[in-house]
Symmetry: C2
Subunit: 282 residues, 2 copies
Amino acid sequence: MGGAIAKALREKVCVKQECLFACDKDSETLNAASQAGLIGKRFDADNAGEMLTLCDIVFLCLNPSSILRFLEKWKDSFKSGCLITDIAGTKESIASAAEKICEYRKKDNIDFIPGHPMAGAEKSGFNNSSLCNFNLKNYILTPIAHNKKENLDFLQELIYKMGFSRITEVTPKEHDRKIAFTSQLCHVIAAALIDCESDTEITRFGGGSFEDLTRIAMLNAPMWTELFLENSGALLNRIDQFEKSLDDLKALIKSDKAQELEKRLTLVRERRIAMSDGGGKL
Amino acid sequence: MGGAIAKALREKVCVKQECLFACDKDSETLNAASQAGLIGKRFDADNAGEMLTLCDIVFLCLNPSSILRFLEKWKDSFKSGCLITDIAGTKESIASAAEKICEYRKKDNIDFIPGHPMAGAEKSGFNNSSLCNFNLKNYILTPIAHNKKENLDFLQELIYKMGFSRITEVTPKEHDRKIAFTSQLCHVIAAALIDCESDTEITRFGGGSFEDLTRIAMLNAPMWTELFLENSGALLNRIDQFEKSLDDLKALIKSDKAQELEKRLTLVRERRIAMSDGGGKL
C-alpha cells in the first residue's frame, strides 16, 4: 500500500520525485521504489527519525501494532507542523495513539488524522502495488478532536486527487464495527471456505462464485491475524449475526420450504441491488 | 444462458443464422434474439415440438424441473438421431431423465449428454447474455451409459469451439457433490451475508471483499431456490462442513490464540494458491 500511495502521489498528484521520501525495513522494496523513479531519498528503518525531521506529511503504512511501536519510538522526530496519517485496517487503538502524540507534541503543532484507504489487494509487497487501483474506491477518515480543519480539508483534497471517489468520516468505533463486516468477516468466511475443502482440483468445478468468494483467502496471514484479534469484539458479533442468517437459510432448505426460501432470497436480491444503487458505487 | 450459447455458436463456431432456432415462453427474448441477427426461426413455447422435429442438436436451457417437464411433454417430437444436452446446475435428476428418454427413443438413436457450463452471470435474461463470457471457463459433462462416443467427441469439440477451456467428465453424483460446494454453498453464504446487514449505505465501507463476496446475492431467487432444494442433501453437508471451519476460526479469535490462528490462515493461503496453480486457471 505504501508503494501504491507513492505511485498515486507521483502520477496523480504530480508530487516531484525529490519531494517523496520512503522508509522501509526491506531494502529490496526501497531498491524497487528507487528504480521505479518514485522516491528522492530512501531511509532504513533504523534511520526513520532522520527522514521524519524532513517531512511535512507522513503516511504510516504499517499494521496497527507496528504503528503504535513506531509512534512510541519516533515521537520526538516528527517535524514541527507535520501532518501524519495512516492506513491501518482498525482504528480505535490508532485514534487513541493519535490523540496521545498530538497532545505530546502540541506546542509543535503536530496533527494526526487516522485514515483507512479501502483499496488493498490480496497480494502484498511493492511489486504488487500496481494492483491497488484507487479509482472509484472508498476512503474512511476517523478524525479526532485535536485535528485542525485546514489539515482535514488538505488531506481530503489529497485523497480525491490520488483517485479515490468517496470519503466517509466516522468515529473510530463506528469504523471498526462496519469494517468488521465488510472486510474482516469476509476474510474469515473466505478462509473458512478454503479450510473445509482439501481438493486443490476443486477449481475444475468453479464457475466464478467460488473464485470470487475465496480470492481474498490468499491473505497475508500475520497481518490478518492481527486485524482479527485487534477488532475481535466487533468481529465476533458479526460472525454470530452471519451464522444466525446462515442457520435460518439452512433450516428453510432442510425443511424444504420453497416458498419461504424464495421469499427470503428475493429480499436478499432486492437489498443487494439497493446496496449497489442507493449506497453508491460497488 | 440460452442467449449466450446462441451467440457463441454464431460468433465462435460460425453456425449460420438460418441453422439456429430458438424457443422461449417470453416473446421479448425471441424478439431480441431475432433483432440481434442470431436466429433463423423462432418458436413459442407451445410450438416447441414443431422446432424439435427440425433440430439435430438441442440445448435445453431451463431449470432442472422445467427440463423434466419439457422432456415429458415433447419426448415424441425430437428428431431421429438428435443429440440433446442441457445446462442445468444439478445433474442427478437430469441424468436419470436422460437415461429414460434415450431408452424410450432407442430405435430413433436419440442421445442425451447432460452438461453444465460453469459460466453463469448473476443477471439473467437475454439482454444480459453478453455477460456470460465462456473464455477460460469450465464445462462439466456427466455422461450416461447410453451416450455414444462419437456424440461425446462431437459435443466436446463444440464446447471448446464455443470458448470454454476445460471440460471435466464426472458422474452426476460427483458433480452434485462438488457443485454443492463451489456454487450452491457460495450462493447461500452470499445470501446470508446480505441477510444479516440491513444498512444499504454499508458499501461506503466496502473495499472489494464485500463486493466480491456478495455480487452473486443478486441471484435469480426462483432458480436458486430450486437448485438449493434439488441438491439439498449435498448442500446441507457442505453448509455443515463450512460451519465447522467457521466455528474453529471463531474459537481461535475468541481465545486470542494468535499463533494458532496465523498458522491456520497460512495453511489456508497456501491451499488457495495451490488451487490457483495446481488446480488450473481460476
